[in-house]
């Protein structure tokens, strides 16, 4: 059975690149545009990995991460923050919020895939 990845990302192109990359690599994708939707989808879909954008409309990626990690049923799901290089200290803040990994934007699809495979081979 294909591993399921939840992508929480508001930018259409980024979502499509991840979708095309990861589905062609054999993953099943679930997508959310906002943090609230992301939390809801995580609860209903129980993904194997979450790719989390940080700059989101409404609650940001840090808060979304905190809410997901606060749910004992979801706590084990690894979350990779996909954060903008523009904001320094983002990586540290992401780990603080409970993220397990970190990929800087703009990401190379090849590198993102390598990172994803570390968590869900």
């Amino acid at each position: 059975m294909a591993k399921r990845i939840l992508v929480i990302e508001d930018h259409e192109d980024n979502r499509r690149i991840m979708r095309d990359l990861l589905t062609s690599a054999g993953y099943e994708l679930v997508e959310a545009v906002t943090g609230e939707d992301g939390v809801a989808l995580a609860e209903t879909q129980h993904p194997d990995l979450i790719l989390m954008d940080i700059q989101l409309p409404g609650i940001d990626g840090y808060e979304t991460t905190r809410r997901i990690k606060a749910n004992p049923a979801l706590r084990r799901i690894p979350i990779i923050a996909v954060t903008s290089y523009a904001l320094s200290g983002d990586d540290a803040k992401a780990f603080e919020a409970g993220c397990d990994g970190y990929v800087a934007k703009p990401f190379s699809p090849r590198e993102l895939l390598a990172k994803v495979r570390e968590y869900v081979p």
């Binding site: 930018h11 192109d13 980024n14 690149i17 095309d20 990359l21 062609s24 903008s84 290089y85 523009a86 320094s88 200290g89 990586d91 540290a92 934007k105 703009p106 990401f107 190379s108 699809p109 090849r110």
Partner: protein, 616 residues
């Protein structure tokens, strides 16, 4: 025997004459010593000599001190019969003389006494006619010598023509010398007084000039100026008016000598410049004005109503001095003798001009300081806005670039199907261009963050060897493409460091990338070792080298080595500047050693352990 008798008579005359001379000299010596002023000493001298000779007229010319040797007629006379000589006196007092002219002019030149048998027949005696008209004939004059300088000339006239009396002239030379000593003494006293005055004034001014430099408020400084002025001159009250920046109004800023009740209506008073009467005139003409009972304020220079109702500043004896600093009119210093009603002497106004210029400097400095503060604040805000704008801008630019690079890579990786070779080549160029654009945007972003002070280091433990290997892995294809040898020499036992690993890798990547970019043949070598407890990393190449002049500039923002061979290499010219700043944020140093044609070596020293405070 007549001969003998004649001799005796002569001897007796000579004795009497000598005695008389001695009496004269003694009297003059006493006068010279005791007379309180030079004028009095000279008056006694005139009287005594006239009494001794029986000549009715004695007079003094004084040397003006001018280089022309101009001699000024004094109002010092001995006149046996003033009415008889009235015309001569008037004409003489109106006739200054120059060297060579008249009796005194010639004495001035020769510095010796001179005798004229009959002045009415002398061609070089300008007032000969007037002298003849009042019956004057013989004349002699004697210099008052101070050292070798003729300070004054005494002249005497007789109503009869007379042959020179050499004995009298000899004795008169002594008289001149005596008076010279009086002049000398007087000058000494004047000089001393003057020195005392000057030094007292200097002391005040010194205190003022230091006050102007002290970090006092403008009002305090102006008060100091006025306090000092009060101590130096006899003026009842002062006030300082400052011109508003729009050059329209006068604002009262400081006063001295006013009672509290007098000051009250003046506080914060603003007078439109054009309504300010005499003050406006002084301001407009940049010249002081002085008024008193003898020189009253003309009605057109009265303060205009309602300001004329300011009783506290309505007065008759007053002066207005424009305050000018570095050519700018900044205000007015005014002073009055409202209560004593004494006229203010002109030399007081002169002295107060110095105080006015001190006050002006204080006002001008305060204005400049304020201007500077405003400008600095504006600049800081503008700079912040610029950095913020650049940060936002580059962030916004990266989002679409992310899509370009992402899709290109997906296509090249054949996620969307097989890619023909021709399209692959073109897409490779798109990808290359996109990555270049990204690195430019990142550079601008880094620099704007550094400038905005938002550039912080994420400190972790790192291995320098790992960093070198990572960088080498990234640049190997580039070096291989150009046929350059990449060599590395890292000491095997380097300790682990603490710093911002990603940023240090960025620095090394920049240096090695540049070295490869600018080197056409040969090698690029990285050397890393520990020296004096610091990491030392050197990146050397066999490239074209950098001239000394260019070495000064390459670490500056937007500067690159200017040789035309490097023009086409691309890049923002920000990389090195950012690299240097990153190293400095770590508490390290970056430098370059190079010579044209000899290659370049860029090196940086980096503390092994960077503490948290560094770079904040």
């Amino acid at each position: 025997m007549p001969h003998d008798r004649g001799k005796k008579k002569h001897a007796g005359d000579a004795l009497r004459q000598t005695t008389a001379f001695l009496d004269l000299l003694k009297a003059i010596a006493v006068a010279a010593n005791e007379a309180p002023t030079l004028d009095q000493a000279m008056q006694i001298c005139l009287d005594r000599v006239c009494a001794h000779t029986g000549w009715p007229v004695g007079h003094v010319y004084l040397h003006s001190g001018e280089p022309s040797g101009k001699l000024v007629p004094m109002a010092l006379w001995h006149l046996d019969n003033p009415e008889q000589f009235e015309e001569f006196r008037k004409v003489t007092e109106a006739t200054p003389l120059f060297p060579g002219l008249g009796l005194p002019g010639r004495v001035y030149g020769s510095k010796r006494p001179l005798w004229i048998v009959d002045v009415s027949k002398d061609p070089y005696f300008p007032t000969g006619k007037e002298a003849e008209a009042v019956g004057l004939r013989a004349g002699f004059a004697v210099p008052v010598l101070v050292g070798a300088e003729v300070a004054a000339v005494l002249e005497f006239f007789s109503t009869e023509a007379a042959e020179p009396d050499s004995a009298l002239l000899d004795i008169m030379a002594h008289v001149g010398a005596q008076l010279g000593r009086v002049v000398e003494r007087q000058r000494g006293a004047d000089h001393r007084r003057e020195l005392e005055n000057v030094s007292r004034n200097l002391e005040h001014l010194y205190r003022l000039s230091t006050a102007v430099q002290e970090p006092l408020s403008l009002r305090q400084q102006l008060n100091r100026v006025l306090e000092a002025a009060c101590q130096v001159v006899a003026v009842d009250r002062f006030y300082i008016w400052v011109v508003t920046p729009d050059d329209e109004r006068l604002v009262s800023l400081a006063t001295a000598g006013f009672s509290e009740e007098e000051v009250k209506p003046l506080l914060g008073v603003e007078i439109p410049l054009t309504e300010a009467g005499a003050m406006y005139k002084a301001y407009r003409e940049r010249a002081p004005l002085l008024f008193d009972d003898q020189h009253p304020v003309p009605p057109d220079l009265y303060l205009k109503p309602p300001y004329s109702e300011l009783k506290a500043i309505r007065t008759k004896s007053f002066m207005v001095i424009p305050m000018i600093a570095r050519g700018r009119r900044v205000g007015l210093l005014t002073g009055d003798n409202k209560w004593s009603r004494r006229p203010i002497p002109p030399h007081t106004v002169e002295l107060l001009q110095v105080f006015a210029s001190h006050a002006a400097v204080a006002v001008e400095n305060a204005r400049l300081f304020q201007e500077l503060q405003v400008r600095t604040r504006d600049l800081e805000i503008a700079s912040k806005h610029k950095s913020q704008f650049l940060a936002n801008m580059s962030h916004e630019l990266r989002t679409p670039l992310n899509a370009i690079l992402g899709y290109t890579e997906l296509v090249l990786d054949e996620i969307y199907g097989k890619v023909p070779e021709t399209i692959r080549d073109v897409l490779g160029r798109v990808q290359h261009g996109g990555r270049h654009l990204l690195s430019l945007i990142n550079d601008v972003l880094d620099l704007s963050k550094i400038e905005a002070g938002q550039f912080t280091l994420s400190l972790t433990d790192y291995s320098l060897l790992d960093i070198v290997h990572t960088v080498f892995a990234a640049v190997e294809p580039l070096a291989a493409e150009k046929g350059l040898a990449l060599r590395v020499a890292v000491s095997p036992d380097l300790p682990r460091g603490r710093g911002d690993e990603r940023r240090i890798a960025q620095v090394l990547l920049n240096l090695v990338g540049n070295a490869i970019k600018f080197t056409e043949t040969g090698e690029v070598k990285v050397d890393a070792r520990l020296s004096d407890g610091q990491f030392v990393v050197e990146v050397s190449d066999t490239g074209p080298g950098i001239s000394l002049a260019d070495q000064q500039m390459i670490f500056e923002e937007f500067q690159r080595s200017d040789s035309s061979s490097t023009r086409h290499k691309g890049g923002t010219g920000l990389g090195l500047s950012i690299a240097k700043k990153i190293i400095e944020l770590h508490g390290g140093r970056m430098s370059v050693e190079s010579a044209v044609g000899k290659g370049s070596t860029f090196s940086f020293m980096l503390p092994v352990h960077v503490e948290e405070w560094v770079g904040t």
